[in-house]
Amino acid sequence: MEVAVVMPPMGDAAGDLVLALWHKAPGDRVVKGEPLFDVATDKVDMSVESLYTGTLTRTVCAEGQSAVEGETIAYIDESGQA
């Protein structure tokens, strides 16, 4: 089953949430807890871990693009996972 990965909120005074870096590429296996992507704001840069185990099927937010909090940035297929 495919789940959506969303841009998380980054505190109460951050500006644009820019997807700085994907640690995984589409097709890669992802384990819950490992770094999935980095977010850069004008206040802070943070690494964000995956909440799911499965396969990163596609990213819909490219590196350097910004997204609003709650916006879907990728999908992970959890099927076949124990």
Binding site: G11, D12, G15
Partner: protein
């Protein structure tokens, strides 16, 4: 206003504040920063990021969580030669330093017969928009504008933020400097070195002929957006950005109100006892016979702010609310 705006460069509100701190600290050894997390962390809102590295621990002081001490010690240092800039993380937390600001800093110069000055700046962050909840979102500027001896500043643009912070640091009185949490990432024209905006002078951010909107801080941008939408319908709105809330530049407000004859006072703070009441009353007293309609207030209702972002959003006047209020004002 001195200095220049650089049209080529844009800068965020946050970075503009940092430029002001940096330049004033470079220019004057007596300027120091103190507060919670202002040093190694770089400020809770990253305003002082890099300043510890540049100026060292002697001038950028991380304090314990002690708001009363932060403001009180800033005052003591100010009385004997420092120009401290204290940071309080949220306006809500200034309540913990009320004595130090209201009974002490505001009174020092007068009560002691002019023997001491209190040249300190207290920077605070306030406002809604991020679901920060009942104890992290209040707009309390009206309380402090009510206290003779304090100056209160609430800029809306990066250039004003820089110019006003520089003026506040150079001023010999205690200044409460209010930064809206929604403004930090907002970009605008950069101000160059020596861009100093005098305290106590409002700024007409948009000229118009039909209605005057008087507002400050983040709501300047909401007013400007509403003005843009109304202009499509042929309504000409003038937007007065107060910038400084104590003292109030009523001359600029009355000049604008006298020409448009219709006034909307807009703010994020709740209604009762808010500064909008003071401005509306003064316009009414001065221009009663000349106004085409009673002065209107558009504010948050008298409510405890919920942390729920959607609930919060419904309580704060937005662009649509302003457009409706202006139309209503024009039809009366």
């Amino acid at each position: 206003m001195t200095g220049t705006l650089s049209s080529a460069r844009t800068v965020s509100f946050r970075d503009a504040l940092r430029e002001a701190l940096h330049e004033e600290m470079e220019a004057d050894e007596s300027v120091i920063l103190l507060g919670e997390d202002v040093g190694r962390y770089g400020g809770a809102y990253a305003v002082s990021r890099g300043l510890l590295e540049r100026f060292g621990e002697r001038r950028v002081i991380d304090t314990p969580m002690s708001e009363a001490l932060i403001v009180g010690a800033a005052l003591g240092a100010a009385m004997v030669g420092a120009r401290p800039v204290a940071e309080i993380m949220y306006m809500d937390f200034v309540t913990l330093a009320m004595d130090n600001l209201v009974n002490q800093a505001a009174k020092v110069h007068y009560m002691f017969g002019g023997q001491f000055n209190a040249p300190l700046v207290v920077r605070v962050q306030q406002g809604t928009g991020r679901g920060a909840g009942s104890q992290h979102s209040q707009s309390l500027e009206g309380w402090f504008a009510h206290v003779p001896g304090l100056k209160v500043v609430a800029p809306s643009t990066p250039a004003d933020a820089k110019g006003l912070l520089k003026a506040a640091i150079r001023d010999n009185d205690p200044v409460l400097f209010i930064e809206h949490k929604g403004l930090y990432p907002r970009k605008g024209a950069a101000a160059e070195v020596d861009h100093v905006v005098p305290l106590g002078v409002a700024d007409v951010k948009r000229t118009g002929t039909d209605v005057t909107i008087v507002t400050w801080s983040n709501h300047v941008h909401i007013a400007l957006e509403a003005a843009e939408r109304l202009s499509a319908d042929g309504v000409s709105v003038e937007v007065v950005d107060m910038r400084c809330l104590a003292p109030l530049d009523m001359t600029t407000v009355l000049d604008s109100a006298g020409s448009t004859r219709r006034v909307l006072v807009l703010h994020e703070a709740c209604r009762t006892g808010g500064l909008g009441a003071e401005i509306a009353a003064t316009v009414g007293e001065q221009l009663f016979g000349e106004l085409a309609a009673p002065v209107r207030r558009l504010t948050a209702p008298d409510v405890v702010l919920p942390a729920h972002t959607e609930l919060e959003r419904t309580l704060i006047p937005d662009v649509e609310d302003v457009v409706l209020a202006v139309r209503d004002l024009l039809s009366s």
